[in-house]
Symmetry: C2
């Protein structure tokens, strides 16, 4: 089952109007609409129940639930072989709440997914430290650990809409490079104390154990030292190979590629290490042709996940829901426009709105059947407001590929089909 | 990999003592111990890395990770066929953090697991209401929803230790009937407003759609009305069939069997409905031979998950970790004894300690190799302290089967093997 599938048109039951009068005060627009369809329903079709399947050692998904990521390549290259894929996007349109199941957490890798024997894995810590050390996984698992629910987002999330807007895409295609898990690991601050990082060390090189040995320079800001962790768990279990098993760096709020998977080396220094990943790959080409380095924090963002791309809705009551997030902390406000950004209403934010986590929002809406556009706009605790696309492009130009956080607009046609548009 | 597997004995590297002197101040006992093994390690055995597996539509577990529940029957009936099982326990000894993966969430059912087509599922709401209504799943999914991380616990959790203590069991056997998920659903208060429950209705009958139609009477306390939900999601995805797909009741902090799975009926009334489940099944036989009905709230509890039953530890540094929880709200304190409850130390509680959720605790320990006993004792925000077994049995006798929350004692032998004992 798709949990946010739109129902059939809401039809008025014979006594729907009087019932509506009774109920609308207490349960609002949604209550009135649902009571109308519910009154027309019956128990006639409910099958009798017999003994169910035996208990098992794992609870699998229902045969009626179809959840999968979509492997894709660079912008506009969809429907490709998995072997060609460079990322695999999470089905935001079919998820509920805020957590992403571990098997559906988005993937982005440069040399595929290595299968690492944890007994043979090592982490070398060296550079400007009192003591160079090589840790095995038993060492790591003997250290104090902490857990935190937080999002991880590929810096390329949203790149589909940088230059043009393919109309026939889903929110999985446009925004599926973000996920939220409970991460468990050793505080980076503990490791820094343990190896005795020198006082004047201001950068850390993190290197992954995949074939291409992705390596990034990470500034040792107070925020990163306080919140970073060497993660070995996600959603209560050991990391899955695609997400860095047995060990990855996790830096809440910072672009995905810094959260080095299959972590095998940390080197401390007093300047950035200038790897090819921060010269050839993860630099941001500005409108004037110059490139910007080290734009590391993920910005305030949001997207309506239902109704969203390629869904079909019907006139009448429709619940609007979506996700908002910011690398700067908590989401404090989400506004929704149902008239193409002319007027805005505050959506309900589901609490608790955790810092640096996806936050669910929702709002009632009655569609009158006239073509229109839906937009969401989020604000974080630091006062950052998600920009509209025109403002965003005026700031950044269209040469860039990363850190796209402009408001997402979904157009709804007279046929009720939802399509991706630029504004 | 078992993430909490104990490592080999900690051996002192040639220069271990001097390194220990450098590091112990900053990183404490764990840091000193780990630095000693780390100094003896090298990168010699790390295999070279080539291209990894292609990206996929789901991230499976590592071939080195073995996670499964164990299906069991009534107390003492282990190692049985799945067809005979009445519950299936979560592997607490192998989990990290606080969330339980959905496929490892414990199961307890009376007629196995039905596979329900959500298009044919209906929820009848009737009794003392203004409007009797039949809802389909599209109705439910159109309503406002909320999400909350909370534990669910079978009221029989711990029953292994009511009368005797089988020595050769794991913490999965003794305490595996508890799990924590992010639950998403419609607030019960919304449904109550929608159908217009009468003011003098004080109880609600909830009936499941499995073969045995489990049905329980639920008091409409302020707490249950405010916190209850009609859940359709767990950990970000639709419920799995074993956990009630497509719809279950979820009442944070209340015994598992009230959280009716495959929910098909809610009837409102002004007294309990006295189903067979609250006369023949879920009553608590007291020491004096009388039975207690409606003991519904899960008590303050805790258990050390490592070291725990059937693990082997070695003299020297060992990290102690475990889980604590209470149906009354947040865990505010966990104490650990490493000398059989003679002396106690405060363990570190991992934050945030969410209300009615499993809370992770941990503490450093150096084992001197002499046989001893490990015990944990939790305190909740209402001031409830987990009782020792003698006090608990003095209060409740040994006729009962449910709501066992006495302190768990793990005995460690001279051989380092951890075994279950009564105190």
């Amino acid at each position: 089952m798709n949990p946010i599938r739109r129902g059939p048109p809401l039809t008025l039951a014979p006594d729907g109007l009087s019932r509506r009068r009774i109920l609308v005060g207490a349960a609002g627009l949604a209550g009135a609409a649902v009571a109308e369809t519910a009154a027309a329903d019956s128990l006639a079709d409910v099958p009798a129940r017999g003994p169910g399947a035996a208990l098992s050692d794992r609870s699998e998904r229902s045969e009626f639930v179809h959840l999968a990521r979509v492997p894709e390549s660079t912008p506009g290259r969809r429907h490709i072989d998995a072997a060609e894929a460079i990322n695999s996007k999470a089905p935001l349109d079919k998820l509920v709440g805020t957590i992403t199941p571990a098997d559906l957490h988005y993937e982005r890798s440069h040399s595929g997914t290595p299968e690492i024997d944890p007994a043979k894995h090592r982490l070398l810590v060296h550079g400007m430290v009192k003591t160079e050390l090589v840790f095995n996984m038993n060492d790591i698992l003997s250290m104090p650990s902490t857990s935190r629910v937080a999002f991880l987002e590929c810096t390329g999330n949203g790149w589909e809409n940088w230059k043009e807007a393919p109309p026939d895409v889903t929110v999985q295609n446009t925004h599926g490079l973000i996920s939220t898990n409970e991460w468990t690991g050793v505080p980076l601050s503990f490791l820094i104390d343990l190896v005795g990082v020198e006082r004047n060390s201001t950068w850390m090189l993190a290197e992954g154990g995949d074939g291409s040995a992705v390596a990034r320079s990470i500034p040792l800001t107070d925020e990163i030292v306080a919140e970073g962790m060497l993660a070995f768990g996600q959603n209560g279990e050991p990391l899955r190979p695609a997400h860095g098993f047995p060990l990855r760096l996790f830096l809440p709020g910072f672009e995905g590629n810094l959260n080095i998977k299959w972590l095998r080396r940390l080197k401390f220094g007093d300047r950035p290490f200038m790897t090819r990943w921060e010269t050839a790959r993860y630099t941001q080409l500005q409108a004037d042709g110059r490139a910007r380095q080290f734009q590391l924090k993920q910005e305030v963002n949001s997207v309506i996940t239902a109704p969203s791309g390629m869904m079909t809705i019907h006139p009448g009551y429709n619940r609007i829901t979506g996700l908002a997030w910011s690398g700067n902390g908590c989401i404090v406000r989400v506004e929704v426009s149902t008239d193409g950004a002319k007027t805005w209403k505050d959506a309900q934010i589901n609490l608790p709105a955790l810092p640096k986590s996806q936050t669910r929002f929702q709002i009632d809406w009655n569609w009158d059947g006239i073509p229109t556009k839906l937009v969401s706009r989020s604000t974080d605790e630091k006062g950052n407001v998600q920009p509209d696309r025109a403002t965003f492009i005026a700031m950044t130009g269209t040469n860039a590929l990363f850190h796209y956080n402009a408001q997402q607009t979904w157009a709804i046609g007279a046929d009720g089909v939802v399509r991706n548009v630029l504004a």
